[in-house]
């Protein structure tokens, strides 16, 4: 069995903000919101995901890299050059911060995949593409990018991909989240969606790759809780070419969304059903054909089900999802004001930046909140 990499359990705070009309706003709000929940983290990890922050490179894969040594950077760049056109390569802007120390080399790249590389790659795949994905032109290209990310994380010593999606990026590290935000100058970016995480691990080497959000392509996950089913989730994902190398259970969630929704073509609703499935006693009472549908999901995706306490905010290009475990062992509150939707561990963290929301409510156990950009709105 693979997987000698240890896993570190954690507890935490999370926040997500989405403007449904794709109006971009500064990262200052999300810092303010997560700052209020300071006591939910312990200074061993904080991070942000911003969507719509790179409009000038909207069609490029934006790779944020963490390097623990210079040789890792050389090796990674050499690796990237083989398959990508590197249209921009620059350090991620930071400012000196008294409480952020031991920083790795932080670098970002805006990449286009070399077309012949994808052709060669897809010719070697024998995976049957789900019918729902036939029209998806970027399908093989994305699979290829996933594979490159796995290879960097797995094979290049001291190099970790913090994010790899288009027109989005992740800023994370060891420290309290508000300090991490200041360090990365997150308030200088404008995005239509932000998620954030403050970490309270119970046992950890202070390491930057272990901070949230966890990502693959444009999926980002911030997670409060612990995935007790991590062992089987990881083994399930390994069969599909995902390798968990980041020492944290949350990693599997990003990969599961990628596998079930993007690769296997399940709708977001169905994906959520598989990951936080209803209890059998409820399923047995569903009318047909829903009973048949959900029964089949549990039969087939049992190894993908997330078990254990969690509340999640999952971001992707064009929307975000809030979901908890099926007996709701972690909090999640949703708020809405005009076209802005908020998700957070605490109501106070929403009211901190939106004092008079139109609606605010706690999410029911296992029932996802899926918010997308309004129809026709382009990020």
């Amino acid at each position: 069995m693979r997987g000698t990499v240890p896993r570190i359990p954690s507890g935490c705070s999370i926040t997500g903000i989405l403007n449904r009309k794709a109006k971009r706003f500064s990262g200052a709000d999300v810092i303010k919101s997560i700052r209020l929940m300071h006591d939910r983290s312990n200074g061993l990890g904080g991070g942000f995901a911003g969507y719509g922050i790179y409009p000038q490179y909207r069609d490029h894969y934006a790779f944020h890299l963490l390097y623990h040594k210079e040789t890792s950077q050389h090796e990674t760049e050499h690796f990237l050059e083989k398959s990508f056109f590197i249209d921009c390569s620059e350090p991620i802007p930071t400012r000196p911060h008294p409480r952020i120390t031991d920083t790795p080399i932080l670098w970002r790249y805006f990449l286009r995949v070399k077309p012949y590389v994808v052709e060669q790659f897809s010719a070697r795949q024998n995976e049957r593409r789900p019918t729902g994905r036939l029209a998806d032109v970027g399908y093989e290209e994305k699979n290829f990018v996933v594979k490159q990310v796995m290879e960097i994380n797995q094979k290049i010593d001291g190099a970790f991909v913090a994010s790899s999606g288009k027109n989005m990026g992740v800023f994370k590290g060891v420290g309290f989240p508000e300090d991490i935000g200041e360090f990365y100058r997150v308030e200088e970016y404008e995005g239509y969606m932000w998620t954030s995480h403050g970490r309270f691990p119970t046992n950890t080497p202070g390491w930057w790759g272990g901070a949230h959000p966890f990502t693959i392509l444009d999926w980002s996950v911030v997670h409060n809780g612990e995935i007790s089913s991590y062992g089987i989730n990881r083994r399930y994902l390994e069969a599909f070419g995902y390798h968990c190398t980041l020492q944290t259970d949350t990693e599997v969630i990003a990969y599961l969304f990628d596998l079930l929704h993007r690769r296997q073509g399940l709708s977001l609703e169905t994906t959520c059903l598989a990951l936080s499935a209803p209890f059998w006693k409820e399923i047995d009472r569903y009318p047909e054909p829903r009973r048949e549908v959900v029964t089949a999901i549990r039969q087939v995706y049992g190894s993908a089900m997330l078990n254990g306490p969690f509340s999640l905010v999952v971001g992707f290009n064009g929307g975000m999802i809030g979901i908890t475990d099926r007996i709701k062992l972690r909090p999640l509150v949703c708020g809405q004001k005009d076209e802005v939707v908020y998700l957070s561990s605490e109501e106070s963290a929403i009211r901190e930046i939106c004092p008079a929301p139109d609606r605010i409510w706690t999410i029911r156990a296992g029932e996802p909140i899926i918010v997308k950009l309004d129809e026709g709105v382009q990020p």
Binding site: P9, G132, T202, S228, S229, G231, R234, P289, I297, L329
Partner: protein, 500 residues
């Protein structure tokens, strides 16, 4: 020829206590007790089945190990010496019943489970739902849906699935090897518990027909009792290639056990030995097996899962993989501790591998090949308690089957004489004066209680692990640690040592 075999046990009767009711004399299936002026034991016939001890109203009987037989010798054990005497006297193969009793140790006893503390809360099964439901049958790797107005509609067609309310089923034990009363109790208990029983290779007696939806019907090399109706009566079909107690060996039912009812059910003449051949005479390769799998699927119109049972042997992972690729919907693996109604002792004690290793290597192999979803993995062979069940599932089994434990629940005392047909407990015998003492009602209740008790314990394990569904434990080897195992053993099991 004078026998040199000294008795294994001594029966001690307290004649002060004894009221000479002779109940023990009637009770002994082995004829070890007779009544002259008082109860007189024939120690050489005693097998320590404890029937007389359990039913003596005065508590006047004790059975003890014969304290002195041979001069102490760590290499030539009493068992070795006696076996040689027996063979020198009779010139035959040593026969026995039940599973391998040799001191090979157990990997279950060298693994421990995890539990939650603080960071992920443990879940209280008394207050929160806990799910053990498991589906037996082949699953696709992915589902496809069509989104319609009323919601998503499934467009993938799943193969037949059998629902189990607990991941514990009864192992294959044939009518013939065990009594009709015992067979009926297994079927009724399976029906009441949402579990399954398995006919073994002895056919299906008509009295079990009401429980058809809880019965796996077995097709073994002797094809005893197999016809269209038999296949139609099962909820799943199992092709038996091998058995943990006797890998590579056919079935043995001595003619003494083939009475009229057994003969009708097996469709063989009364009083004849039912010896099923070692291999199936139509299966000499994996292609042949595939043909039989699909013949049975055709015969049952693809409405029932069709699986294959094999013994855990050295190359079990590759064999299981071939079986799944040959079309099996489930693979039943029987470890070397698995029981039997009759087997050559030497085969039972020296062939096969532990089920723990077999589960780990088969599950690994199926995952590597991307076919894990294609078949349900049933593990059996020496499952003694719910701890073994939980560990087997954490190693990668979907379902666990219990044979010996089920017999013990019905009263078996593991005297290992099933092959003689003299079972004093009325379980592994066809003698009417013995079988009628096993009350189906009570035996059913005992089996239902056992499944219930183990299922409750499984829920406790899950709750402690912070899980509320059995599928989150299945194959989650992260939740196991090894104690006192070397690195190679840990690697095969795919687990870390305790402390890591």
């Amino acid at each position: 020829m004078r026998s040199l075999v000294s008795p294994d046990f001594l029966v001690k009767i307290d004649h002060q206590q004894c009221r000479r009711c002779k109940r023990c004399v009637q009770g002994c299936g082995f004829g070890a007790l007779s009544f002259l002026d008082r109860v007189a034991p024939d120690n050489s016939k005693c097998v320590a089945c404890q029937r007389c001890v359990a039913f003596c109203p005065e508590g006047a009987i004790t059975v003890v190990q014969n304290p002195l037989t041979f001069k102490g010798n760590d290499y030539w054990t009493a068992k070795d010496i006696k076996s040689i005497y027996k063979q020198a006297e009779a010139g035959g193969m040593l026969l026995t019943g039940m599973g391998n009793d040799r001191p090979y140790g157990s990997y279950f006893d060298h693994m421990v489970l995890d539990a939650c503390q603080v960071t992920n809360p443990s879940i209280d099964p008394l207050r929160e739902p806990m799910e053990l439901r498991t589906y037996l049958g082949s699953k696709p790797n992915a589902l496809e849906f069509e989104e319609r107005d009323g919601g998503a509609v499934l467009t993938t067609r799943l193969g037949p699935q059998v629902v189990l309310e607990t991941p514990i089923i009864f192992a294959a034990m044939s009518y013939g090897a065990i009594s009709l009363q015992a067979h009926k109790a297994l079927a009724r208990a399976a029906s009441l518990s949402g579990s399954l029983m398995n006919t073994g290779e002895g056919g299906l007696h008509k009295e079990l027909y009401p429980y058809s939806d809880r019965i796996i019907v077995q097709v073994a090399s002797g094809r005893f009792g197999v016809n269209q109706e038999y296949l139609d009566r099962g909820v799943a079909v199992e092709i038996k290639i091998g058995q943990g107690a006797k890998p590579g060996i056919g079935g043995h039912l001595p003619g003494e056990k083939v009475n009229q009812e057994v003969s009708q059910t097996r469709m063989i003449p009364e009083g004849t030995d039912a010896l099923s051949p070692a291999p199936h005479h139509d299966i000499y390769s994996i292609e042949d097996l595939s043909q039989l799998i699909y013949s049975l699927k055709e015969a049952t119109r693809y409405t029932k899962p069709v699986g294959v049972k094999i013994a855990a042997v050295h190359n079990v992972a590759a064999i299981a993989s071939g079986i799944v690729r040959a079309g099996a919907d489930f693979v039943y693996i029987d470890g070397f501790r698995g029981g039997t109604g009759a087997a050559p002792t030497m085969i039972r004690d020296n062939v096969g591998i532990p089920i723990e290793m077999a589960i780990a290597s088969v599950d690994d192999r199926m995952r590597q090949e991307g076919i894990r979803n294609q078949a349900t993995l049933i593990a059996a062979g020496g499952i003694r308690n719910s701890g073994d069940v939980a560990k087997a599932i954490a190693l990668g089994a979907d379902v666990v089957a219990i044979g010996t434990a089920a017999l013990v629940a019905m009263g078996c005392h593991l005297c290992q004489k099933c092959n003689t047909g003299n079972c004093s407990w009325g379980i592994a015998t066809q003698r009417p004066e013995l079988t009628r003492r096993l009350e189906t009602e009570e035996a059913t209740e005992r089996l239902v209680n056992l499944l219930r008790g183990w299922s409750l314990e499984l829920k406790d394990f899950l709750g402690a692990l912070g899980l509320n569904a059995i599928e989150s434990l299945r194959g989650s080897r992260d939740r196991l640690r090894g104690v006192g195992l070397n690195q190679v053993e840990l690697d095969v099991l795919g687990i870390k040592p305790a402390g890591r």
